[in-house]
C-alpha cells in the first residue's frame, strides 16, 4: 500500500522491477529454480518421512513385543507399514531419488540411514 512509503526516490519504479510474483519470492528465498525446487523439496520431505517411518516402525515393534496391542491393532499396523514402504518406493521413483539421496548427515551422530 502506498502509505508505507516514507521516502520515495524520483525513479521509484526502479525498485518495482523486482515485482514479486509470490511464487518467485518463495523460490528466491530458497535459492533454487522452480524445477530443482520441486525435487529438492521432495528430497527433504521424503528424508523426514523416511526418518519418521523408521521411528514408527521401531516403536510399533516395541509395542508389539510389550504385548500392549490387540491382534486387530497389530494386524492393522503390519498392513499400514507395508503400505507405507510401498508408497515410499513409489514416491522415490516418481522423483528419481535413490536411498542414498535420502540420507541426512547428523554430524556427530553419523548418517541418518
Amino acid at each position: 500500500m502506498k502509505d508505507k512509503v516514507l521516502h520515495r526516490p524520483p525513479d521509484i519504479e526502479l525498485f518495482a522491477s523486482e515485482r514479486p510474483r509470490l511464487d518467485n519470492a518463495l523460490t528466491r528465498r530458497i535459492g533454487a529454480d522452480p524445477e530443482n525446487l520441486e525435487r529438492g523439496l521432495a528430497q527433504l520431505v521424503l528424508t523426514i518421512v523416511e526418518l519418521l517411518r523408521q521411528l514408527m516402525e521401531r516403536q510399533a515393534l516395541r509395542r508389539i513385543d510389550a504385548g500392549g496391542l490387540t491382534p486387530e491393532q497389530e494386524e492393522r499396523l503390519g498392513v499400514a507399514f507395508l503400505e507405507l514402504s510401498r508408497r515410499m518406493e513409489e514416491l522415490k521413483d516418481e522423483f528419481g531419488l535413490e536411498d542414498d539421496d535420502l540420507n541426512l548427515n547428523l554430524g556427530p551422530l553419523g548418517n541418518l540411514l
Partner: protein
C-alpha cells in the same frame, strides 16, 4: 509505471520479505499415529534443537503417547 503502482509494488516487496521470512517462528507438536494407533510423539523443537546434544545420550523425546 505510475508512481501509485510503483509504490504498491515496492511496499509488497518489503512486506513479503518480512511476513514470509521474518517474524516469530513457532514450531508445533505432532502426534503421529498409524492405523489409529498413536505411536510417536515428536516435539519439533526438541528434534531441531537437540541433535548436537544427542551424543550425550539424551535423545529427543520419542516415547509413545498413551
Amino acid at each position: 509505471m505510475s508512481t501509485a503502482i510503483a509504490e504498491r509494488e515496492v511496499a509488497l516487496v518489503d512486506l513479503v520479505d518480512r511476513l514470509l521470512a521474518g517474524g516469530v517462528v513457532l514450531a508445533g507438536e505432532i502426534t503421529l499415529s498409524v492405523a489409529d494407533v498413536d505411536l510417536v510423539y515428536v516435539s519439533l523443537r526438541a528434534l531441531i534443537s537437540s541433535v548436537p546434544t544427542a551424543e550425550q545420550g539424551a535423545l529427543p523425546r520419542m516415547g509413545s503417547a498413551l
